[in-house]
């Protein structure tokens, strides 16, 4: 066991304080310590993109970043894209175009697409292909995914700094009140 390290970060708009093992990845911390299991664990070598999250607005593979490196950052996971019951326009477009087949890669695809659209709100098809090149879909649903991203482009997004959901707002205002994360999935 390596000594636990105290880190403070913002996850989906909500300040969190976590004791993390130094050798645990950000993916481990999100899934196991914060119970945010929308972010998927798959290849663990940065090939598939299923573990993509936004770190200070930039898409990264959370399997290739230590949890301790996230100290002081703002993280957005797929759970942070929707606002209350209102889906992010990307999520709505993925549903509308049938881009979701088995669904396993979709959290990563959504995060990569959100990052790309925040930098380039009017992408070409080639831009979308490049922006999502780090995200594999084993159902081979690429056509519908690209179609969904292009459809969502131009529709107003809630940006990369997702706000806490309405029912979590009271917690977000008081970091000291952060409960045991294992018992309080978002």
């Amino acid at each position: 066991m390596s000594p636990a390290v105290h880190i403070e970060l913002t996850v989906n708009g909500r300040p969190r304080a976590v004791e993390v093992e130094a050798h645990h990845t950000l993916l481990d911390v999100l899934r196991d310590d914060l119970a945010l299991t929308g972010t998927k664990e798959c290849c663990l070598v940065g090939e598939c993109g299923a573990c993509s999250v936004l770190v200070d607005g930039a898409a990264v593979d959370s399997c290739l970043m230590l949890g301790v490196e996230a100290d002081g950052t703002a993280i957005t996971t797929v759970e942070g894209l929707a606002t209350g019951d209102r889906l992010d326009p990307l999520q709505a477009a993925f549903l509308a175009t049938g881009a979701v087949q088995c669904g396993f890669c979709i959290p990563g695809q959504l995060i990569a697409a959100r990052a790309m659209l925040s930098l380039n709100p009017s992408p070409t098809r080639a831009d979308v292909e490049e922006g999502l090149a780090g995200n594999l879909c084993r159902c081979a649903g690429y056509e519908q995914i690209i179609e969904a991203v292009l459809a969502a482009a131009g529709a107003p997004g809630d940006g990369t700094t997702a706000q806490p959901r309405a029912h979590d707002a009271h917690r977000a205002s008081d970091p000291a009140a952060t409960p045991d994360a294992r018992l309080a999935p978002q």
Binding site: M1, S2, P3, V5, E21, A22, H23, H24, T25, L44, V45, G46, E47, G49, S52, V55, A58, A59, V60, D61, C63, L64, M65, L66, V68, E69, A112, A115, M116, E129, E130, G131, A133, G134, N135
Partner: protein, 287 residues
């Protein structure tokens, strides 16, 4: 992943001390982590201490002119390199090489310094850095020293970095004469893949052609044509091809690599070489 102690020194002296105290293999430097974390997880590296250098005050992520060099801090990511207006203009091949490393997610973390320290023969930034005469600024127990990149690479994963040393910055000489440059490569598929051939080329107004290529042997190689033959599109085809063959004479692709066979790599090397010379010549612009 095996347990280790995580250190995040604030000063270069502390980082060097941590590396020195834990030599030879007890400490590893963490910058972007896109290579390191894979090897920590698969157990090929088992350090006691991981030294995260991203908050070392003397190591930054800036790209700025210092004297007659362009200095790229060791925290600079591939995304930063690919987006920098000055690198895109004056060191085009480097911007192009950085822009095809991994995926967006990888480029947002991976650093240029980490790419050369990892010393993969297939690294897409190494050929451009060799072409532009990069110098590696290194700090260690004996202070700072500068290593020309051509004298930095030994073979895959092995560099002339001594124990206790770490890279602080990479410097590129400012362009002296008008030149154009490009990076080209072959991969098995479009998108996110390692190169079967990765090549950078610069052509300058004085007729000098510089070509560096990787994924064709244990380390990337730099070859320079000062005869002016390669840069002269009007020179006899046989003379140009002969010159090109001489520059590629030491290419030695692995016979066992799964990415591409040696014959294919050598054939593509010639084609990419010719294409790169034409593209770089077309981009010749005054400084």
């Amino acid at each position: 992943m095996r347990a280790f102690t995580y250190e995040r020194p604030a000063h270069l002296d502390d980082a060097v001390a941590l590396l020195t105290e834990n030599t030879p293999d007890g400490a590893r430097v963490l910058a972007g982590g896109t290579d390191l974390i894979i090897r920590l997880r698969d157990g090929t590296l088992r350090p006691k201490v991981v030294v995260d250098v991203k908050r070392v005050a003397e190591i930054d992520g800036s790209i700025r002119e210092v004297g007659d060099m362009l200095r790229i801090g060791a925290r600079t990511t591939m995304t930063d390199i690919g987006a920098d207006a000055r690198i895109r203009r004056d060191y085009t091949a480097l911007a192009e090489g950085a822009a095809v490393v991994g995926s967006v997610q990888i480029r947002n973390r991976a650093t240029l310094a980490g790419n050369i320290c990892n010393a993969s023969p297939a690294a897409d930034t190494s050929p451009a850095l060799l072409v532009f005469g990069a110098v590696v600024v290194v700090a260690g127990p004996a202070g700072e020293r500068r290593i020309p990149l051509d004298a930095f690479f030994i073979r895959s994963g092995v560099t002339t970095l001594a124990s206790g040393e770490l890279v602080v910055a990479i410097e590129l000489p400012l362009p002296g004469v008008a030149r154009g440059s490009t990076h080209v490569r072959r991969t098995r598929r479009r998108g996110h893949d390692l190169a079967s051939v990765t090549l950078a080329c610069s052509v300058s107004a004085d007729g000098v052609t510089r070509i560096a290529y990787g994924s064709l042997g244990p380390r990337p190689l730099l070859r320079v044509d000062e005869t002016g033959v390669l840069a002269d599109a009007g020179a006899p085809e046989t003379a140009r091809l002969e010159r090109l063959e001489a520059m590629f004479a030491e290419a030695s692709p692995s016979p066992t690599s799964l990415r591409a066979g040696p014959d294919y790599r050598l054939a593509m090397l010639r084609i990419l070489g010719l294409r790169a010379i034409a593209a770089a010549s077309g981009r010749l612009r005054p400084v």
